[in-house]
């Protein structure tokens, strides 16, 4: 087997612990449930027929469905997502929640504009539709006991990671292909910031304006964004930088909300959820706590006993 083939196999089908699979599966379920439950969908029922332009997935939709259809999709999707998180028939309930989310996001996008807000979560969740969530990966308690990483549990996480990497890389690739280095080196980001209030409702409009009025700040921001996107594939080769990229992606999308008022919260949460090995982080945290409390006990045992005040 060639070195490249070994790397490819490990990247796509590499082993992970059952605990990590359960944590990501539960996290994605809760995130999908939150998007389905809290999204502004019902209000779309009033969209006039002339303004409805169905996404290709929902090509048969001529007009927005009535309110009760939106509510039914939201209720079913939310209950299914919660059931998946609570490990009740997790494979089926996850699939039901994912489909409800897909349809609701598709209806929201059926107004002419291509919306990407929900797409990363939908795409990154797709491998989990076939994830082995029975056996040791059925419940977190059982999964926590099973320490040995296996490919059977690892592949959904590894594939979701590759999907995330490709999405960011393609976003950077199209910036470069369509606009070239001017995307960073020109006035592009200045005007993205200055136009900001006209495309969203920024929470921190003054900062957007400040960046727009300072060429160096605009270019640094643009360089950060394009740099992150184009170098994202590094995480597939140097796995220890996954945490850094997860953090950078979260900063990017939270920043987008503050500066431009655009809702990329699903992206900001999905990336760290998939890229960070949370059970390992929790284990390291608890080990450090045990070690430091043992150190405290040792150092207080070494100290001479205090003389009695009496």
């Amino acid at each position: 087997m060639t070195r490249f083939r070994r790397w490819l196999d490990d990247t796509l089908w590499g082993p992970e612990t059952a605990a990590r699979l359960v944590v990501v599966h539960v996290g994605l379920s809760l995130l999908i449930g939150a998007r389905v439950a809290l999204g502004s969908y019902r209000q779309l029922a009033d969209t006039p027929r002339a303004l409805v332009d169905p996404v290709p997935l929902l090509f048969w939709v001529e007009r927005m469905p009535p309110v009760w259809v939106f509510v039914a999709l939201q209720v079913v999707g939310t209950v299914a997502a919660l059931a998946a998180a609570w490990r009740r028939s997790p494979r089926v309930t996850f699939a039901v929640a994912w489909v409800c989310y897909l349809v609701l996001a598709g209806l929201r996008g059926s107004r002419g504009k291509v919306l990407h807000n929900d797409l990363l979560l939908l795409w990154a969740s797709a491998p989990f539709l076939l994830a082995p969530v029975g056996g040791a990966a059925a419940r977190l308690k059982d999964a926590w006991r099973s320490r040995e990483p296996r490919s059977a549990w690892g592949w959904p996480i590894r594939v979701a990671t590759v999907i995330i990497v490709l999405v960011y890389f393609l976003a950077g690739y199209h910036k470069l292909r369509r606009s070239g280095p001017e995307w960073v080196l020109g006035d592009n980001m200045r005007y993205v910031m200055l136009w900001g209030p006209s495309i969203g409702s920024p929470a921190w409009g003054d900062l957007a304006r400040w960046v727009g009025e300072h060429v160096w700040a605009a270019r640094v921001s643009a360089g950060f964004i394009l740099g992150i996107e184009l170098t994202f594939p590094v995480v597939l080769v140097v796995r220890r930088v996954q945490v850094l990229y997860a953090l950078a992606a979260a900063v990017l999308h939270v920043g987008t909300w503050f500066l431009l008022g655009l809702d990329y919260w699903a992206w900001a949460i999905t990336v760290p959820l998939v890229l960070v090995d949370w059970p390992a982080v929790a284990q390291r945290f608890s080990t450090n706590r045990v070690n430091s409390s043992a150190k405290v006990r040792r150092s207080s045992a070494d100290q001479p006993s205090m003389p009695s005040a009496m």
Partner: protein, 154 residues
């Protein structure tokens, strides 16, 4: 020592499913077309500068003054009306009328003194005046209609 990858643990159906997923992600992703939920991921890829053309809806009051109505003032279903409006040039008379009428029905609720609704392509420009960024407009009317009392498309 790290556990080695064991591809045989991954079901054949899962491997095929993943192959299909990657094909669906990569083909539109590399070519750059949108067939939602398949997409080209062209997020903010176009260069922005001080000017841009936007499609706007204008409310004309009794004195003949036309003022742009922000789509943010209208209900959620109307917020992305810029895209249907952008499709108006070259579309059928019936479609132009129905888009204009749909917008007029919503506009008249937030601007009751509206006597005419205009759909226009607005050449907008950001200019700095006395330390403030001001948006200048140069709308070119594409379609007009009169709320409730019938309509005409120009």
């Amino acid at each position: 020592m790290a556990t080695p990858t064991d591809v045989t643990e991954v079901p054949r159906t899962a491997r095929w499913f993943v192959a299909v997923l990657f094909a669906l992600l990569l083909v539109p992703g590399v070519v750059g077309f949108d067939t939602w939920p398949l997409t080209g991921w062209r997020l903010f890829s176009a260069l922005r500068d001080e000017s841009q053309n936007r499609w706007v809806v204008q409310a004309v009051d009794g004195s003949g003054e036309a003022r742009i109505v922000s789509l943010e003032e209208l209900p959620l279903g109307y917020r992305h009306a810029e895209w249907p409006m952008a499709d108006l040039p070259g579309s059928s008379e019936a479609h132009r009328r129905s888009v204009c009428r749909a917008l007029a029905d919503a506009v008249v609720k937030v601007r009751p003194d509206t006597v005419e609704v205009q759909i226009a392509e607005d050449a907008q420009r950001l200019v700095e005046r006395d330390g403030e960024w001001v948006l200048t407009h140069d709308p070119e009317v594409e379609a007009t209609c009169t709320p409730r009392r019938g309509e005409q498309a120009s």
